[in-house]
Symmetry: C2
């Protein structure tokens, strides 16, 4: 097969005409498909409906420490919920606080608290002239939205298959005291599906931050979200690595059951050192009388333990895997050898990252939209929504049905081809 | 009956001896009673256990606007939850956002947001030299804890049976641009059980704040928490009063179902003007992907509508009323005519306020504790935990059983007598 780069101008023009004709056919179909959001499919939600059966009016509502889960109190989570979330993250219960239904809110509140109250006694960030966060790119748009919302300057750090460019991370963190944080999705990263290598984790743990109030924001959202039973990524436990490195306080880890049970009604947790948690508890005492312990208890009754979570994740994988594989299959079939795109083949998580020729991502997303397929906005996985090379597209295969996904992927490859031809013709 | 003030020193000394003997008897009983927290009793929680039956694995999980309540999205609440909470507060659904399980968290977040982002475009409070809040006293300790946590100066405003001293409120709000807020529990106030009169509400609505970012924090926690079916307090709707007065943006109203269903697992809401809500939604979009809509939906299925809430509140009242009446009965029987204390007789809410002779509250609380009865700390209902006259005690009759409460109240009156005799003997 001839790559697009090898084609003559005439061949490209011909290709363009035939692509345009195919594109018009799709436009006529009046499609309404969505590959934009990392939402669980209806089938996945249906699969966990039995969580609604574990508590009823006859249930005992008492946690293992004797407290009534229906009443006020137990601000930082019932003990068995701490244990379960600790097991999920691969850390100890004493390192964990359990919050409400979303880890994003914990992250927001953590940044917000640092703005108004500093970090373990440091100057509140809102009283500092300049605050910076490192942002491995491409990354999770909602992380970047938080730092942007608080006026924090964001610095792009390139991602590799092993994690962020650690030379650059060390350079910034160890020398610039205005660098206060870094956003990480260490396992099955959003949107590439990369897993931080052991070396990367160890280098994170061994950072020597110039700022005493620097923290790693370790968003372990996909910690149990494997696609393949026999090829599960292993990630070192950042909490114990930081302890070993004599840096126990430099990391906050976050996780939730948002894509294990119901996306909107799970439980979320944070893990960190005693010093950090004690500081956070001081604000928590003021911010809340306690999060929803009934829902924590419901999750405990449903899963019993980590094995319960793993069993459920296997069922999720059985629904998700065919979708990831179908997208990969169509991309391979339609684009391999054309020299106009590469994509990741994640073993877990919720996303595939597609890289177009430079300067084509916006055009692909626009064309797809005009043919009825909504993709995550080009630029979204970058701070300020700006992809400097305009070449990254996040594909979210989870929500559509297989049949919808097939159509969406076919429209997508067509749009990639069309945008690429147009780009090459410009040159 | 002779009041303590009328007694001679000799009589007082004699009284003291006999009180001490009785006190020692109680101490021997090794009591462990608690009248400190405004927690629903176990019986009240048992009464709403059937909320756990309304959803099960067979339930339809679709809100009236067609969205799946199990998945992400619908950040500011499902429409029927907005409607229900609006009906509860006596306002319109369009004025309401529904959040997580606790209104305290909404209040904290509202102050926190004002610190970092200002109010509808005003300068963030963290960049201002001085921020003040007015605090009607006695009031709710957790309100004061929020403002103290953010370094906001608190100014005591005396409460009357009709609400805060409005002359003083107007004086401050209309003249001092550093006054940015006031904490209010307008109905069955914490801890006195007073209800703001129509005139008070209208004067609030007609404030002409010197600060454009002044807001009334209207914590309507006890909006449906009547004790008597036939003597229910009416409170004017602050939202529409503010609209009528041409001041639509000066109030945030808060409410929750924390003491309607489960104290720790209810739903909470805020009501305000479109302008305020639009500004808040901007932060919400960053802070959360959405609160727990399954629990919102559960509450809708359980109550159906405001009548469902009212029916449930009647059952709560049937449990609470005898407790309030028993406390009042014992206080009356033991203290009437002695001139050493007065107390409120609320028609709703969760508290009774007892006023001792000046300078006796701390002593009463200490004595009660040493006899095994925990009361809310003296000073707690005041900013910075300081009751300038040391005379206010908050009594929370809800949690103990009737039998426990009888004993606790008997210990309490004994401690009041003893502390008063000691005080009078000092003079």
């Amino acid at each position: 097969m001839k790559s697009y780069q090898e084609m003559s101008k005439e061949e490209l023009l011909q290709e363009k005409e035939s692509l345009k004709a195919a594109y018009k056919e799709y436009q006529k179909m009046d499609l309404s498909l969505n590959m934009a959001r990392g939402k669980p499919a209806v089938e996945q939600l249906d699969m966990v409906m039995d969580i609604l059966d574990v508590l009823d009016s006859k249930s005992e509502m008492v946690a293992e420490n004797g407290i009534d889960v229906r009443n006020y109190g137990e601000m930082d989570g019932i003990p068995e919920a701490k244990k379960l979330m600790a097991d999920m993250m691969g850390t100890k219960a004493e390192n964990v606080l359990v919050f409400g239904n979303a880890s994003l809110t914990i992250m927001y509140d953590t940044v917000s608290r640092s703005m108004t109250h500093g970090v373990c006694g440091s100057t509140p960030w809102c009283h500092l002239d300049k605050i910076k966060f490192l942002c491995p790119v491409p990354g999770y748009d909602r992380h970047f939205a938080i730092t942007e919302h608080f006026g924090i300057e964001m610095i792009n750090i390139p991602m590799t298959e092993d994690g962020p460019d650690m030379d650059m991370v060390e350079q910034y963190v160890n020398n610039d005291p205005s660098v206060k944080g870094i956003w990480c999705v260490p396992k099955y990263s959003n949107p590439q599906g990369y897993v931080y290598s052991d070396e990367t984790v160890k280098r994170f743990a061994a950072l020597k931050p110039a700022a005493e109030d620097f923290r790693i924001f370790w968003d372990n959202s996909y910690v149990v979200h494997h696609l393949y039973e026999d090829r599960q990524a292993e990630l070192l436990d950042i909490i114990s690595e930081c302890e070993k490195a004599g840096n126990p306080d430099i990391v906050y880890e976050f996780a939730s059951t948002s894509k294990v049970t119901f996306a909107g009604a799970g439980i979320a947790a944070m893990a960190s050192s005693k010093k950090n948690l004690d500081f956070i508890r001081k604000s928590m005492t003021i911010q809340t009388i306690g999060y929803d312990k009934v829902n924590q208890y419901r999750h405990i009754k449903y899963f019993k333990d980590l094995d319960g979570i793993k069993a459920k994740m296997k069922q999720h994988a059985d629904i998700l895997r065919p979708k990831f594989e179908m997208v990969d299959e169509i991309l391979t079939k339609e684009l391999e050898g054309l020299g106009i795109g590469t994509w990741t083949k994640p073993l877990g998580g919720y996303f595939i990252t597609f890289e177009t020729l430079e300067g084509c991502a916006t055009s692909v997303v626009k064309k797809a939209k005009e043919a009825g397929v909504v993709l995550t906005g080009a630029g979204a996985p970058f701070p300020y929504g700006t992809d400097p090379r305009d070449f990254v597209i996040r594909i979210a295969p989870s929500y559509p049905t297989l049949e919808e996904l097939r159509q969406a992927a076919e429209v997508f490859v067509l749009c990639v081809k069309l945008a690429s031809v147009e780009k090459l013709l410009e040159a």
